[in-house]
């Protein structure tokens, strides 16, 4: 197996480093990943067949849309593989373990038209049933090409995945779906947005919901569509956070500013909850490459925001906008309070592997489950954050939408002013 060909590291560097110091500037050691992945797949003999327990896992590609490929997937081993698809468990893994785990998921592909989800043929339907299964599913695939050797998928939205080959035949020993998923799947009058809301409120994890929406197993019968995995993840983050925010907007306001900080490897996550109506922003500051001498100099900030009535268009900043918004909405919901939120992230040199928006969602959830610092003004919050940021905090403030809206750009400050 090879990692994507973009990564070229001089051998002399690896010999000096031996995976210990990450001299290459990456946030993981490609050699260790390869070795770990190899170990995980020891039992798999390269060839045209694949047997294993799928978590379940089905990837939906986006190339050629609306004629796309769907990929029933499985690691080449048996057992309780459910954590291979459970994003909430990935956060505490080392990057090498995470990557090798994900890269061990082999994929068989079959072409479909997205609209066929409404009236699937036998194979497509079996793959749908596999995707909604409540437990790992035993699969046995026959493939057209021997598997191994192909490039793996690294995509900024979807989680990394292992190699693939066109599917010749598959037998799936799927189990019964979770009761709520079964109900949403068989209710062909239930709108997709309502189905997602229902599943979420029934305690189904959002990554499960996005994989079920992606295989076209939810929504009104005639409108069911297969949705590329990366779009489905953002669609479910957006749809579920929309309904949560609508709910929390009417709760009582939080009483002070709350500041949350989470430094993690290669990243700094920050959140300020504001005692205000709903208003939200997500900002990212990517440091330039892995060139150490530019540290702290030209980090550009990208930021998108919304007011009380949400956005009308898709934020340029991408899917993390909505995965963070979900974490924020969940936090307010758990407090039964309303407020606004400033959320910022700094990404440092070396953290240059797209691992998927789950990484942001889970880190933001972890961020908001930590104990906050409380302040009376936004100025104090920002001063506190300045101890943590590598980007000068004034740059964050200059780019912010929520900060000026809640401090200078409103009518409140003219209330006491004599004209």
């Amino acid at each position: 197996m090879t990692l994507s060909g973009k990564i070229q590291i001089p051998a002399s560097l690896c010999m000096k480093c031996r995976g210990g110091k990450l001299l290459c500037g990456l946030s993981y050691c490609p050699i260790s990943v390869k070795l770990m992945a190899k170990k995980m797949m020891e039992s798999h003999k390269p060839g045209r067949t694949l047997e294993g327990s799928s978590p379940p896992s089905v990837f939906v590609g986006r190339y050629g849309y609306p004629k796309i490929n769907i990929y029933p997937s499985s690691p080449p081993f048996h057992g309780d593989t459910s954590k291979l698809e459970k994003t909430s468990e990935w956060l505490n893994m080392g990057m090498e373990e995470f990557l090798s785990m994900r890269l061990s998921i082999f994929r068989g592909s079959t072409p479909v038209e997205v609209t066929q989800a409404a009236d699937p043929g036998r194979l497509f339907q079996e793959i749908q049933l596999m995707a909604i299964s409540g437990k790992p599913v035993e699969v046995d695939m026959e493939l057209e090409k021997p598997i191994g050797g192909q490039d793996v998928i690294l995509d900024e939205h979807a989680s990394p995945m292992g190699p693939s080959s066109p599917l010749k035949r598959i037998s799936i020993d799927y189990g019964a779906p979770d009761h709520h998923i079964e109900k949403a799947y068989s209710d062909t009058d239930l709108k997709a947005a309502d189905a997602m809301k229902y599943l979420y409120s029934s305690g189904i994890q959002v990554d499960r919901i996005s994989s079920i929406i992606s295989i076209g197993a939810l929504g009104e019968k005639k409108r069911r569509r297969a949705v590329p995995t990366r779009w489905a993840i953002t669609a479910s983050d957006k749809s579920i956070s929309d309904s949560l925010v609508k709910e929390i907007r009417d709760y009582q306001q939080i009483s002070s500013f709350e500041v949350y900080v989470r430094p993690t490897y290669g990243n700094l996550f920050m959140g300020i909850l504001t005692p205000s109506n709903w208003i939200y922003e997500w900002g990212e500051s990517w440091f330039p490459g892995s060139t150490w001498n530019q540290w702290g100099d030209h980090a550009e900030i990208e930021l998108d925001y919304e007011g009380y009535n949400f956005r009308k268009d898709y934020p340029d900043i991408g899917g993390c906008y909505y995965s963070t918004r979900l974490a924020v909405a969940e936090k307010f919901k758990s407090m039964r309070r309303r407020g606004g939120a400033i959320t910022w992230r700094e990404i440092y040199p070396g953290f240059n592997l797209p691992v998927g928006v789950w990484h942001v969602r889970e880190n933001m959830r972890a961020l908001f489950s930590s104990e906050p610092m409380r302040f009376g003004t936004l100025q104090e919050c920002v001063r506190y954050l300045s101890d943590f940021t590598q980007v000068p905090v004034e740059n964050w403030v200059r780019k912010s939408y929520v900060y000026p809206t809640l401090t200078t750009n409103n009518l409140d400050r003219f209330l006491e002013m004599k004209s």
Binding site: Y308, R398, N410, L411, F414, M417
Partner: protein, 249 residues
């Protein structure tokens, strides 16, 4: 509970609802024998609207006391969609409901809990300088800036009004010289920036206005006065928008 019955032209009711809806989805009216008044601020406290609807603006207006009426503005908009342009709309209070009679249709919507809708305090805003421009010109200038930036900078001197937006890579500017302005009162150069999306929404909602009066000073709220309905003072609906300035960064 007091008795309340009022009849108004569809056109005026629609404009009232549209004006309010640029700022809020729910609003609380104060009802007195002299008429209705309403104040509302948007959730971010960036824009505010105040409006007076005197009894003379109604075809019929009967009340025997004072009360407050909290209304879901979007529901009202959807109810009056049923009407034809020349219809009259009669609204009466029916317990916790507001009852609409429009031509052959009778429809009731729930009133909101008065405590759930707050009436904002209104800052004392007073700008000496102002300019009156045609709505068409102003809208064109704002639309030109829409895809450039989310704020627009107004500059007024005795000779012209400029409205300019800049981003890192683009800019847009409208220049209206004195002879294209309906009125101007300004003795020195004043500048202030405003959020474009709000400003455009407010201007668009003034559907019956031909001219727009903008009053402001340096880094200070923008006041847009409006008046519609009958021309007679006691029969016209009047009020203003306030829009918070964007501080230059």
């Amino acid at each position: 509970m007091t008795m309340l019955k009022m009849t108004i032209s569809l056109k005026n009711l629609k404009e009232i609802a549209d004006l309010l809806n640029t700022v809020v989805t729910e609003a609380k009216f104060k009802v007195t024998p002299e008429g209705l008044s309403v104040k509302a601020v948007d959730p971010a406290h960036v824009a505010m609207v105040s409006m007076e609807i005197p009894r003379g603006a109604f075809v019929e207006y009967t009340t025997d006391g004072e009360e407050e009426l909290a209304i879901d503005v979007e529901r009202v908009k959807s109810v009056i969609k049923l009407a034809s342009p020349n219809d009259l709309v009669t609204m009466s209070r029916d317990g916790g409901k507001l009852r609409f009679e429009i031509s052959t249709i009778v429809k009731s919507i729930s009133l909101l809990d008065n405590n759930s809708v707050t009436t904002p305090r209104v800052p004392q805003i007073n700008s000496e300088s102002y300019v009156v421009v045609s709505k068409g010109n102003l809208e064109r200038g704002l639309k030109a800036a829409e895809d450039v930036s989310d704020s627009i900078r107004l500059t007024l001197n005795g000779q012209e009004l400029r409205a300019r937006s800049v981003s890192d890579s683009e800019e847009s500017e409208m220049i209206l010289p004195k002879d294209m302005l309906k009125e101007i009162k300004c003795s020195q150069t004043i500048k202030s920036s405003y959020p474009l999306e709000y400003l455009l929404k407010l201007v668009k909602s003034l559907s019956s206005a031909e001219d727009i009066k903008l009053s402001f000073k340096d880094d200070y709220p923008l006041t847009i006065e409006f008046k519609f309905g009958q021309s007679k003072e006691s029969e016209s609906i009047s009020g203003n928008f306030l829009l918070a300035p964007r501080m230059e960064q």
